[in-house]
Symmetry: C2
Subunit: 468 residues, 2 copies
């Protein structure tokens, strides 16, 4: 199967050029100057006029099951928000299937071809939960890394200055969790089908050192992405100092958990030494600007990270802390937000740089930079074709600036993932969208419940975090 | 003509209730408990199930002609960005007409029923320019306040520490400008038709005291809105100290320009004394969060303003500094952005508060709080009906949170402005949308030109603003 995209404005390195792009099976076969590739009878030919072709973006961090919690959780700091999230987490396998489908659809229709699902899995039904997610992602045909959230410390351990709350949850042992991960890898890791398993310890705040290290060993053994939350909040920064006597970055480094396959979600509360240290390891920072504002987590030092040579990717984070799963929105905010941290505009992110973070940076963050993130011969064909004639892309000025700094809507004309076309004329071709919407409408009725803003942990949180 | 909206979830004060709403001619006639108003033969009946009815938002600050500069101007601080904007400002009257139409359409389809156009007008063709804008707004049927940008100081006067650049512009005299405003008021101010003229001195940085005061006198005489830029940038804060020896807020106050009809765009660089002083005057601050990040202007102290009792409204600002004109996007960002300025989450804006700023606050900012911004009997019918069944509003959790914190798209089912339905089934009913898009596509070809990031003023700017 070959597809020839003719005379299309496409990203080549950091510039736009008009080219012909030939896809053969799952790969980009040839990229050549416009008009130089002739059509052949067996090819599917796509006219590139008034279109823009970019590598697919990567959503570097989300939690697909939170689709069911969109619009549900009040604006609270992470630690109090989490208590509310736990109370309303879905527990039905079909909700996990539809959560994956919904997340995949939103990703494709906002320019993404790959996502990192830092996935909640139902305790005792871990295999079944991941199976539901895999079915969802394979049905839609998106590339997905599934990194089940692992933890072996109770919720209260994640708060600074201890907390005397009784704990309802009974965490699993490290050995149990690592054996589970080996089983998940054996059963579901399938790069040919675009499905990957990652190691996803929740974060240092909920994990023992032996769990963090055990995940790292599996990551090395199977060459898999190691993905974790890092210093999302000021409370976590304080907790690390209490528990280790130094920064969490230093602790991860000392445990041997940082390397080129590591991606770290949030990384808001890094100091300059953390940034320098991270840059030496080849790890990727995943920036989730909408979630960081929604939860009041703070302004991640993204411009400093980039100047230190760190790789940065973008993420939406889950729908409970970003009530939309739109990559273009996250990229826009991540592009304009950091002007307030640096008066010198020569350091500000440009639209072209933002696209590089979302593609090349995103691919590196999910350990796939050898096959996706660029429009170049030999790479897999993960491509998004945007409609430059859409009203939200008018007038016809700078296409990248309109895409990144505008508010494009319904502009994704076509998407290919591993060479397979999964979106055409702004419609996902692979899944019954009406059934998805029906499922969201029906099941949400069962989930609706009063917002439980006030949680038993709140007095402790206010005492520790707001009294100084 | 009567319209009965039956059994609709509607904002009543700060809570949602299911009610029947009867519109008669241009007014809201009755709001009653659901099921209590019976239909009559001559009424247009609208089913309110699965819908949300809100007062129309007000876009408190934009510049409609910048529609033509979407995607064109690089990310630069205001002072350098402005130089680029001047270079590419449209000069054809039909561009002003279509700019108004485009701005009005984007406003309606993102929940707005009224806008403040702080309008560039072609020198020497001021009457014709405003005529084009009025035709655009009346064609679409939106409520619009047109406040022509007035200035009598050269561009270089708006920079701190002076600037030796030769000036191409030759500002008009105060007398000329005020006479022009009187003529515009006489010709175009027409509240019955939803068209208002406002006094719009650009800002203290480009205006003499006599122009600022002359505008204030006209505002008092004709009871019109007084709208101006205030302390958008750190450079303006420094300029005020240089020129007056005290804050720009104090200066406006001493000139007698601050009062309940005053609305102040941006107000980023306010100190605590400024906020206290503003609160005593009854003035409104218009918050433009997207533009403020796009230009690196800073974080406006919105939470402090609200706690001091100031009225705050939202604005999109022009499309050259916010490459979209979507009110829901500006409201979302303005709601979540300020968490980083205050660790106490009890001070954060809720979705319901954000809607109040966008409606009641917005109405006050354009001097129309006696007739728009609330769903209450006797007010004019400026109403927006949202589709809660749209995929971007699923699952069915909290409607206000989904609207404000999600990324709603194509959810505006119907809009009434002064009782006239101007949107139905997410389509603007009053204007030929295809003709608008054709105009944007065609004329934009003539505007495309290389981005002129580097301007002669740049060395001075860097020397003054970045060297310390």
């Amino acid at each position: 199967m070959q597809t020839l995209i003719q005379s299309v404005l496409a990203l080549q390195g950091d510039a736009l050029q008009t080219v012909d792009v030939l896809l053969a099976d799952r790969h980009i076969h040839t990229v050549a100057p416009a008009g130089t590739l002739s059509t052949e009878a067996h090819q599917h030919v796509v006219a590139g006029q008034d279109k823009l072709l970019l590598p697919g973006f990567v959503n570097g961090h989300t939690h697909s099951s939170q689709v069911w919690q969109r619009g549900l959780i009040p604006q609270l700091p992470l630690e109090l928000w989490l208590a509310n999230v736990f109370d309303s987490t879905p527990q039905q396998l079909n909700q996990f299937y539809w959560g994956a489908v919904s997340t995949a659809v939103d990703t494709l229709l906002s320019g993404g071809t790959c996502l990192m699902d830092h996935a909640y899995v139902i305790p005792g039904q871990e295999m079944e939960t991941v199976d539901a997610l895999v079915r969802g992602y394979r049905t839609v045909g998106i590339r997905a890394v599934i990194a089940p959230l692992l933890m072996d410390l109770p919720f209260a351990a994640g708060l600074p200055s201890g907390c005397l709350l009784p704990q309802a949850d009974s965490p699993r042992s490290v050995a149990h969790l690592l054996a589970l991960m080996e089983a998940l890898i054996a059963e579901f890791h399938d790069p040919d089908q675009g499905i990957y398993i990652g190691l996803g310890p929740t974060g240092f705040h909920r994990c023992s050192d032996s769990l963090l290290q055990g995940c790292s060993e599996l990551s090395h053994r199977y060459q898999l992405c190691y993905h974790t939350h890092l210093l999302e909040t000021r409370a976590q920064q304080r907790l690390a100092q209490e528990r280790y006597g130094h920064s969490a970055v230093r602790h991860f480094h000392d445990l041997g958990c940082l390397g080129p396959r590591t991606s770290l979600a949030h990384a808001v509360w890094l100091d300059d030494a953390d940034i320098e240290l991270l840059a030496t390891t080849g790890a990727t920072v995943v920036h989730n600007p909408v979630s960081n504002l929604r939860l009041g987590s703070g302004l991640a030092p993204i411009l400093k990270c980039l100047r230190a040579g760190l790789t940065v990717a973008f993420g939406c984070d889950g729908a409970a802390s970003n009530d939309a799963q739109n990559l273009l929105e996250a990229i826009k905010l991540g592009t304009i937000l950091h002007t307030v941290t640096d008066a010198d505009y020569q350091h500000w992110l440009t639209p072209a740089q933002a696209v590089e973070l979302a593609t090349v940076g995103g691919a590196k963050g999910v350990n796939l930079s050898d096959c996706t993130g660029m429009i170049t011969a030999g790479f897999e064909a993960d491509l998004v074709l945007y409609n430059l004639n859409h009203p939200s892309m008018l007038p016809c000025t700078d296409p990248l600036q309109l895409l990144v700094l505008g508010r494009p809507t319904d502009v994704v004309d076509a998407v290919w993932v591993q060479g397979r076309q999964v979106v055409g004329q702004n419609e996902v071709l692979t899944v019954d969208i009406a059934a998805l919407h029906h499922a969201l409408r029906q099941s949400s009725l069962n989930l609706r419940h009063p917002q439980t803003q006030h949680h038993a942990v709140e007095p402790h949180y206010r005492d520790v975090m707001l009294s100084s």
